[in-house]
């Protein structure tokens, strides 16, 4: 009962954010833009060409990151597992940075996504390999492996910046902060395709996530092909992180906060937790982005700054909260 009420509240929260966000900002947009879509007016231009695509992009990015967080936390049985803490984001960022520099020589459609994807996959396999050597996914091992992978890819990105020219370097830095900077619908539509694929795959795995969050033995006893499920989850999270990072940069902490807040609200069952986190994550990042572009208007902050400001303390709270009980 409580679960249903909480889930409804999450949906209401998301709807409120999504309707309010496109109207927030420096330029006042009257409600009449909804009735007559006349792109000749500045207001309609702002509303349809700048704000709506931006809201869509933010929602998709947040939803994808939250979905990755839910899946990784269940699979690694670790409350701190997210694309950001495991270094998947920096792997993807490295891939995308390569693409920024060598884009001229690489005439591949959606090159940035494919490069991000390769980077993300490399990071995920590296972390998984490192934890497997030490046997078991203890919180410390996983975080250390994540930090190591993060450092590794961060230094590779620094190296790329060093060899790149000034404009490229500036682009990389701006984008590394994590910002949602889009006009038009090309970006949101591309992201939509990749995000929908990733989310669909994870949602189909929801029952397996429940079992894997208990133990591999139980999952196997209940008929989960664990090795196969892991591969599928690695693939799905990598493709989602790649799509987000390629366009918005490595935005941190959404994948950490959304699943935890939702777990408090709707409980641990992934049948509900997964959709709840996806919706909440999307709405949450949209809200953060709206704050980022209105707080110091006419200037804008990268949304990554806001999420990190909220996420840092949240991360510490999680660490302290879990230090009481041991994580097997």
């Amino acid at each position: 009962m409580k679960t249903k009420v909480s889930f409804t509240l999450i949906i209401i929260f998301a709807l409120l954010v999504l309707t309010a966000a496109p109207f927030a900002g420096m330029i006042k947009v009257p409600l009449s833009v909804l009735k007559n879509i006349d792109l000749a007016t500045t207001e309609a231009q702002v509303f349809y060409q700048i704000r709506l695509p931006r809201v869509f992009t933010a929602f998709l990015a947040g939803a994808a990151l939250a979905c990755c967080g839910v899946a990784l936390q269940a699979m690694f049985r670790n409350p701190l597992a997210t694309p950001f803490t495991l270094g998947i984001s920096s792997g993807a960022a490295f891939g995308a940075a390569i693409c920024v520099i060598f884009a001229a020589y690489l005439p591949i459609p959606y090159g940035n996504i494919w490069f991000s994807f390769a980077g993300a996959l490399a990071a995920v396999l590296l972390v998984y390999g490192l934890t497997k050597i030490k046997k078991g996914f203890s919180a410390d091992t996983m975080l250390l492996a994540g930090i190591a992978v993060n450092f590794f890819f961060s230094s590779l990105i620094l190296f790329l910046q060093y060899i790149s020219d000034f404009t490229q370097s500036f682009r990389i830095i701006h984008w590394l902060m994590g910002s949602i900077d889009v006009t038009g619908y090309r970006t949101p539509v591309t992201m939509l395709i990749f995000t929908v694929i990733g989310i669909a795959v994870i949602v189909i795995q929801r029952l397996n996530l429940n079992l894997m969050s208990i133990s591999d033995e139980i999952a196997i006893a209940r008929g989960v092909d664990v090795k196969n499920a892991r591969k599928i989850i690695f693939f799905a999270t990598s493709i989602m992180v790649a799509a987000v990072v390629a366009y918005c940069g490595p935005i941190g902490f959404v994948g950490l906060m959304a699943p935890h807040i939702c777990r408090l609200l709707v409980g641990p069952d992934h049948k509900i937790l997964t959709p709840a986190s996806i919706i909440f994550g999307g709405a949450f990042l949209t809200l953060c982005d709206t704050i980022a572009r209105t707080l110091i208007a006419p200037a804008e902050m990268p949304v990554g700054v806001i999420t990190a400001l909220l996420g840092g303390p949240f991360f510490v709270w999680l660490l302290l909260k879990d230090s009481g009980k041991s994580i097997p």
Partner: protein, 263 residues
């Protein structure tokens, strides 16, 4: 009990980083049989169960479940026939007992179907039989070890598998819970004809409830036969490298081992 073989193991060997854990194990379990596996620590008992439940897959030799090679089953189709009850569930499972038992219905669901009232009924019956209904809505993490083990068996029951593989289900439990678990297994065996393969350290409970016993030492089968036969001074001394004292059970007259005197 009939002559149909539930599990047939031939020449099963398993080594990990050069160490031979199991060596050319051969035995069969008949459908509906209660088989107990005993042996010293590190003999390979748990590894054996883990091979049959396919947690370990890189073994050598052949394992057949219901006359079909284990490797040809999909994990899901295997879960409808055979289930594994680990020694202990994690202590921090955030699900309620009911949620956990319902998860045993997953092998019977497709990725798009939902838990049906029939599934709920099966889970309820399983909790009824294992006397776990009274704490069905408690979170698993708040249960005692004994209660958790009962839930573990309730879950295996809700899975409706014909074969249960249990790894020391009663170890670490107090006397009452030990008795409850062994009675429960016997009851399940009688009611549904479930094949029970149970690893244990407790020779007495093995002798009192098994139809057949296998003893493993250093990865090899050392003894195979009816329970009365294993209660033999030389055989047990050979298996456990220590002397045993015996007594007669006052109610059944069966030969049992008694605890050692502490010097």
């Amino acid at each position: 009990m009939n002559d149909q073989k539930a599990i047939e193991i031939a020449e099963l060997s398993f080594a990990i980083s050069g160490k031979q854990i199991l060596e050319r194990i051969c035995f069969a379990v008949f459908a509906g049989q209660r088989l107990f596996i005993v042996g010293p620590n590190g003999a390979g008992k748990t590894t054996l169960l883990r091979c049959v439940s396919r947690i370990i897959t890189n073994y050598q030799g052949s394992i057949k479940v219901k006359d079909r090679n284990l490797r040809t089953y999909s994990q899901k189709s295997l879960a409808k026939i055979l289930t594994y009850v680990p020694q202990s569930l994690g202590a921090d499972i955030p699900f309620t007992v009911r949620q956990f038992v319902l998860m045993s219905r997953y092998p019977h669901l497709s990725p798009f179907s939902v838990i049906s009232p029939e599934d709920e009924k099966i889970a309820c019956d399983a909790m009824e039989m294992t006397q776990t209904v009274c704490f069905a809505d408690r979170v698993m993490a708040t249960l005692s070890g004994g209660e958790r083990q009962q839930v573990s068996i309730a879950a295996a029951l809700a899975q409706q598998a014909e074969i249960f593989l249990l790894d020391e289900p009663a170890t670490y439990l107090d006397y009452k819970h030990q008795r409850d678990i062994h009675n429960l297994l016997a009851k399940i065996n009688k009611t549904y004809g479930t094949t029970i393969v149970c690893v244990t350290h407790d020779l007495n409970s093995a002798v009192l409830s098994a139809e057949a016993i296998i003893a493993i030492k250093e990865g090899k089968i050392f003894f195979e036969g009816v329970p009365e036969k294993i209660m033999n001074e030389e055989i047990l001394e050979e298996i456990y490298s220590k002397k045993f004292c015996f007594a007669e059970h006052p109610l059944t007259g069966q030969k049992i081992v008694v605890p050692d005197v502490i010097e």
